[in-house]
Symmetry: C2
Subunit: 96 residues, 2 copies
């Protein structure tokens, strides 16, 4: 007999809602980093900023503890996002 | 003369706020996928579900268009998260 998996469907509905929220937050984040990219180009600043990234990692690790999220995952997550942002900044610098 | 970069600081303040929101949303998402992991173990379901993942990717790509986010980035983002989730599910299956 096939199981209904109603509880699994319930969990997945919540995951889908959270993912939608994540997409819209990420979109807003890239709207801002796009402005940062143009600002950096205008002021001749490099696309990446290791000191700022260090501060962000430290801050997110602290927040992760409060949220009960694996701090190492937060670090990887920020790295994943930052690599995309730096690619955008390079494109802005080179082609805009 | 050193520049103040006040505008850059403003942008970064917004980015920091968004990152905090992302951390707490991700923490909530992992709270739910953890329950999914136990559910799957209990019902002898595999840690990954390619059909579900296909549906998630298609849905996030649609949402990305509305949000003006690169759909390809959304796909990579979901893949990044899902890989972590599957690792968690495997751990739950093997050690819980």
């Amino acid at each position: 007999m096939l199981e209904n998996h109603d509880l699994l469907k319930e969990y997945r509905k919540s995951i889908d809602n959270i993912d939608a929220a994540l997409v819209f937050l990420l979109a807003e984040r890239f709207r801002i980093t796009r402005k940062v990219g143009f600002y950096k180009k205008e002021h001749d600043l490099p696309p990446g900023d290791p000191e700022r990234e260090e501060q962000q990692i430290a801050r997110l690790k602290e927040l992760s503890k409060t949220a009960d999220l694996d701090p190492e995952f937060s670090r990887k997550f920020l790295k994943f996002i930052t690599e995309e942002v730096i690619r955008h900044h390079q494109r802005i610098r080179d082609y805009s």
